[in-house]
């Protein structure tokens, strides 16, 4: 029994990260119909920003400020930094191609991804960097019931992720910005005619999506310690998968998709076969897509004639 619960916790920890990154994918896809393949690298940059914040405050073993404050600063700085990075990427790599064939920005996204990953490699070297979280947040903090262990980093991930998701949903549903985002998503030209500043809305969307990826990067560093220039590619791929499986463009879909994939991976590795984990996960996902061709939460697209 404790194995089952622990596996669920493992899956959720990774799943929430996928979900946060997938949200950025989905938001951007919603307004631009663009697959932002550089998104995973934005997440990687977020993880690096978090690492340098720790170094700035004295390093993991000699922190000059209380830990909760440090974690909060890491989230905020990484979120702001990656948010601005996202806006810049949109401004320089995607905006010039807004009316181009849909496949063209796919290639500029790859270009951005190459540049980000290799710039980090150039500037900070290939050596894996470690957050060394356990030297300032002990494993024994958190909840321990019998053999089930949830440490405080995992609790932080759950709480912050859920809070951010609710905040995002409220933002999209209730605020003027959210309304304009939805308007741009459903018909960009019509939104422009109604006086919505489409460029600005798209910039905000990129800011929010990238900031969430940056926060996810910090969480990944806190929970799993190791960060390197190459963690972005796979995370981006998984998040893309999560967004599509959940129903691309849908916010609850991205969350459910991320958690679904995280749990699938954990259960496949724990209970079926560690050797064929990936094959099993692909199999489950293909079947899911065949059963629900527009994702779990996706609505069948209305075709305009």
């Amino acid at each position: 029994m404790h194995e089952l619960i622990q596996t669920i916790i493992n899956g959720l920890t990774t799943g929430f990260l996928y979900a946060l990154i997938a949200l950025g994918y989905s938001l951007v896809y919603g307004v631009l119909k663009l697959l932002n393949f550089a998104h995973g690298d934005v997440y990687m940059v977020g993880a690096y920003i978090g690492y340098f914040v720790i170094q700035w405050f004295g390093g993991p073993t000699a922190l000059s400020i209380p830990v909760p404050l440090l974690v909060a600063i890491m989230f905020v700085v990484a979120g702001l930094g990656t948010g601005v990075l996202g806006v810049l990427i949109e401004r320089f790599a995607y905006r010039p191609l807004r009316d181009a064939p849909r496949i063209a920005p796919l290639i500029t996204a790859l270009g951005v991804s190459f540049i980000l990953e290799n710039s980090v490699l150039l500037l900070f070297g290939g050596f894996t960097k470690s957050y060394s979280t356990n030297s300032f947040i002990s494993f024994s903090s958190g909840i321990h019931i019998g053999d089930v262990n949830i440490d405080s980093v995992q609790i932080t991930i759950f709480v912050v992720s859920i809070a951010m998701m609710f905040a995002l949903m409220r933002l999209v549903d209730r605020t003027t910005l959210g309304k304009s985002m939805r308007a741009v998503a459903s018909d960009r030209e019509a939104a422009e005619m109604l006086g919505i500043n489409v460029d600005r809305v798209i910039s905000y969307t990129f800011f929010i999506g990238s900031a969430m990826a940056g926060v996810a990067g910090v969480m990944s560093g806190l929970a799993f310690n190791q960060i390197s220039a190459t963690i972005g590619f796979l995370a981006g791929l998984k998040a893309f998968t999560a967004a599509v499986v959940g129903g691309i463009g849908s916010i609850p879909g991205a969350v459910i998709g991320g958690l679904f994939i995280g749990l699938c991976e954990a259960f496949a590795a724990s209970y079926i076969s560690s050797k064929y984990t990936d094959l099993i996960v692909f199999g489950i996902l293909i079947v899911t897509m065949l059963v629900r061709p527009t994702g779990i939460f996706g609505r069948p697209a209305l075709q305009k004639v």
């Binding site: 290939g126 990944s220 963690i231 796979l234 560690s274």
Partner: protein, 408 residues
Amino acid sequence: MKVRLTLVAVALTALVAAGCGSSSNSSSSSAPAATSSSAAAAGTSSASAGKSCKAAIAIEGPFTGPVAQVGLEQLHFAQLAVQMDNKANGTDVTMAQDDTQLTPSLATQKTQAIISSDAVAAVGPAGSQEVEAVGPLFGRAGLAFITGSATLPALTTDGKNPTFLRVVPNDNIQGPQDANYVINHLHPKAVLVIDDDEAYSQGLVKTMIPIFQKAGIKVNHQTINGTDTGATLANAINSLVTSKLTADETVTMLPWQAAANAQQFGLAAQQQHKKTILFGTDGTNSPSQFKIPGTYVSNFGPDISASSSALDKSLVSGVAQFGPYGAFGVPTYEATDVEMKAIASVCKSGGTPSRANVLAAIRKTNIAPAANPLGVQVAFKSNGDIVGQPGYLFKIESGGKYVTIPNK
């Protein structure tokens, strides 16, 4: 407008012409990076003989892509070897860099570039599959290549790689050594053996499992995907720790390439309060990354950071500017060193450092244990394997300090 277009066309043509011109000369030899140009300066100044000993070598490795960590470490140590040996032997050797991203087809392309250049010997490639892909090409060109990390036993026994040499022992040496140590000293009821789905790891696992089974120890063999990173990798490791690591398995073998992944496993076990003794192979030997107390780690060479020899000290200070390093740098240093010394010896005996002469000199290599950082005699058998069988074992003390212990 028209003038401008013409100008663009002219510029383009010039660009292409320039590119073609330089490729047809020799594509990768003209790559004196900062180190080699400064090394060249050092060479001319300290050359005692009148004529300078000029030659070019090349290094293949994964300098970008998922395993850039390994490749860049190898690159930095190799550059250091070129610099130090140029100075010591009065040679003027430059080294070109060829990035393979650990992909055999890319390695093939880069090998053709090396063969077409004036390189007389090559260092690398890093992976065993790459060696399988490029071995026949190097063989046909009569170009010696020495790897510091490809350990698949078949590479030297199948006869397909006539000019291949390695300064590390193959999996048939390290695997049994480690397994026997576990059996004789740690006495587990069962072991958890996890391979990371790559050639290096699978080769070692293949040699370890029969030995454990023969000693009556139950083997629980699991797999992770070593090319996974970050959250995905952590998910797999956490789940393995949760459901596959039982109280019986008091020892866990981690024959992995990435020390950071092994550290991740150790932390996951700590986080879930599971007790097991970790045992890593040479790929995980990195004092700055893998530091779970109570762990055993084997390696081909001694810990140069703790050594008092002048050579080891200069190595440590030489690569300090590139940050920490792991287990892949020192063997690659030695591979480069062998080639540098061979070139110098060819020059000294009055010959020109051609591919054939350098290959012959490399085969005659005999470096005493004290004169190289691996701490063993560096000489090669006729099939290219190293004669000496270095096997070091470390135990990680609390605080992450690596302490050498006898490996028998």
